[in-house]
């Protein structure tokens, strides 16, 4: 009899603890920030209200203008104080080119169009509508802004690199060493510091920010501006049916990187 009572109390205690713990956890998951990261609406229809900034990249235009991609990268890295360490291990990049078959990873595609093989394609942060990096970050150092831009707070980032593991596009870079330092030959990693934008400290993660600092003063992203003459890149509000990106998306066949992952990338490609 006595033993039964003890067993019952033990069981009841465990059940109570598990019940309280899990329901609290569940509710806090559903509250506040969880919504912003898309946890609550995962599997439901995406919200079409509000601004969602996005980009369309026309790959053919970059074939016609061979040096355009490099010009875009140069201006981006220059204004954002992106360091050049000169080796792939420490590499930091916001905007870069990779071979077509790497950007759009092909597992089984046979005899793909010859001209696409090895073609350099611009890659950058996809500013996903449902970003896994924002979900992963333990300090909200990376967050989704009201306009859809996935931003970074370099002063809050603790450098755990959970976001790098979470990003399925390899869009995030880590400052493995001091970006404001110089190599053994006395060459500064940042050739010329732009005082308009903060340079980072070592030990934090960074990535493309859709030129949020330029958007704030009514400009468009620097790469889009560079590519404007060639009409190779388009930028604007995806939720606004009258915006230029919306028009391009309606008229052209476009693809996204790894759409099956449910991240809802805001960068589209015309092949």
């Amino acid at each position: 009899m006595k033993k039964d009572r003890r067993d019952f109390l033990k069981l009841a205690g465990c059940a109570a603890v598990a019940g309280v713990g899990s329901s609290t956890a569940f509710h806090s998951l559903l509250r506040g920030e969880a919504e912003a990261a898309g946890l609550k609406r995962a599997g439901t229809k995406k919200d079409k209200s509000g601004t969602r900034l996005g980009m369309v990249i026309d790959i053919q235009k970059f074939i016609d203008n061979r040096d355009l991609a490099q010009r875009c990268i140069r201006v981006c890295h220059q204004i954002h104080n992106v360091p050049d360490f000169g080796n792939p291990k420490d590499e930091i990049k916001w905007l870069w080119t990779d071979r077509f078959e790497h950007v759009f990873v092909k597992d089984t595609h046979y005899r793909q169009a010859q001209h696409l093989q090895g073609m350099p394609v611009l890659s950058l942060c996809n500013h996903c509508d449902n970003p896994p990096c924002v979900r992963a970050c333990p300090t909200k150092a990376t967050f989704k802004k009201d306009d859809g831009v996935v931003g970074m707070d370099y002063h809050r980032c603790i450098g755990c690199r959970f976001c790098m593991a979470a990003c399925p596009y390899g869009a995030r870079s880590f400052n493995w060493r001091d970006p404001r330092g110089m190599d053994e030959h006395g060459r500064s990693f940042i050739s010329e510091i732009n005082p308009e934008y903060p340079a980072r400290t070592m030990g934090v993660v960074e990535k493309c920010n859709f030129c949020t600092e330029r958007l704030a003063v009514g400009k468009i992203p620097a790469c889009v501006e560079e590519a404007a003459a060639a009409e190779a890149m388009f930028f604007g509000d995806l939720n606004d049916p009258d915006s230029e990106v919306s028009r391009v998306l309606r008229e052209k066949f476009t693809i996204q990187r790894r759409p099956s992952l449910g991240t809802y990338p805001s960068v589209f490609y015309i092949i």
Binding site: S28, G32, V103, F162, A165, G170
Partner: protein
């Protein structure tokens, strides 16, 4: 009670001195890492977590493994474990301390670590990992110390300890589940994105934790009058072998899903880890010898542990536990985390090799863990022997 850790034989002090030396060397390497940045490690843009996080993951398992001694004793009233339960709780303390040190060693900005508390983010699994790990550390400190202290005083532990003991049981499950969720919730990392990751973590933890504990207990038996007891040993063998077999069963399930479905991204990492991955004419296979050895060593260990039990041989028991522990360490403390980064999101392969500094810091954290275990076990064994003799 703590004074027991300050009285020891020459061998005891030599061991402590060796551990302190390793810690000092690792400390020097950490100063280097602090000044230069995490660039001193072998980690890169593609393999952005390395030895630190893989050791952390493995050691969460060792900490959770203590559950296999606490649960039978407190929940099923299995008296034979009465003498070693405290060892399980103290090993959990040391393992969690190592986990926290590995996390700090891995942070790019360790001085900002408290941002996790200042800006609590419930959607992040890392936030919950911080909660459960620190909670588990506190629970084991409270329970372990209170129970040992009452034993020291020659009385039964106070009733207020009981709820904490019962709480620590589901909590042990939670630490390894949440740690698995760090990995198992990331789209695009196909090796980790599997529902069986948390169960597999638990299975390997329930083998690795008790195996390490049994090895240490056997060493203590050889050097002191402390005895685990044959019945407890036999029971531990049952627990370790079942858990290890379940772990391998789960691994086999992973292999079936990947290779029978022929789903490319489910096969890549397993190819890389176990057979070698071919990319553009190159074969990438730097972890293959370890991973294959892990399976072979594990199978030998499981076979040997049954033989050791039937022969009542402590030597064989120790060796088989060491083999099982090593097998699981390679599997989880090496391949699990590193493999997840291959191939990278562009389908390319970057192979990772830890640097000298990284190895030194890793060794120092392990040495700290052993130091904590040594001191705590010294206290626990001294108290127990004093009461019994």
């Amino acid at each position: 009670m703590i004074e027991k850790a300050l009285q020891g034989s020459k061998g005891y002090w030599t061991w402590i001195a060796c551990l302190l030396a390793v810690i000092a060397i690792g400390g020097m390497f950490y100063v280097q890492q602090w000044n230069y940045g995490l660039g001193v490690t072998g980690m890169s843009r593609d393999v952005s977590w390395g030895l630190y996080i893989s050791q952390f993951t493995f050691l969460v398992g060792v900490a959770a493994g203590g559950l296999m001694l606490v649960l039978p004793y407190y929940l099923h009233n299995y008296k034979e474990f009465g003498r070693i339960t405290i060892l399980g709780e103290f090993m959990a303390i040391a393992a969690i301390i190592m986990c926290l040190m590995f996390i700090i060693a891995d942070l790019g900005q360790p001085m900002r670590a408290l941002n996790v508390l200042l800006y609590p983010t419930p959607q992040s699994m890392l936030f919950w990992d911080m909660v459960v790990l620190n909670g588990y550390l506190a629970l084991n400190l409270v329970c372990g110390w209170a129970i040992l202290h009452s034993e020291y005083k020659g009385v039964k532990y106070a009733n207020w300890v009981k709820p904490f003991i019962y709480l620590s049981i589901p909590w042990a499950i939670s630490i390894h589940t949440v740690t698995a969720f760090l990995y198992a919730g990331l789209p695009g990392r196909d090796y980790w994105l599997t529902a069986i990751l948390a169960p597999r973590f638990l299975a390997s933890a329930f083998a690795a934790g008790p195996a390490l504990l049994l090895i240490i207990a056997l060493i203590i038996e050889r050097n002191t009058l402390f005895r685990v007891g044959q019945v407890a040993k036999d029971k531990l063998v049952t627990i370790i072998s079942y858990a290890a077999i379940i772990n391998f069963f789960f691994l086999a399930c992973e292999f079936f899903s990947a290779y029978y479905s022929q789903y490319p991204s489910k096969m890549y990492t397993k190819d890389y880890l176990f057979f070698g991955l071919e990319k553009d004419g190159n074969i990438f296979n730097n972890l293959v010898p370890y991973m294959q050895a892990s399976v072979v060593i594990g199978v030998i260990g499981i076979a040997m542990i049954f033989y050791a039990r039937s022969r009542k041989s402590d030597i064989l028991l120790g060796i088989s536990c060491a083999l099982i522990f090593l097998s699981l360490w390679i599997d989880k403390g090496l391949g699990m985390v590193l493999g997840g980064f291959v191939p990278n999101p562009m389908g390319q392969v970057t192979q990772y090799y830890p640097s000298i500094q990284e190895l030194g810091i890793t060794a120092a954290v392990w040495a700290t863990g052993f130091l904590v275990v040594t001191l705590l076990y010294k206290v626990a064994i001294s108290v127990k022997l004093e009461k019994e003799l």
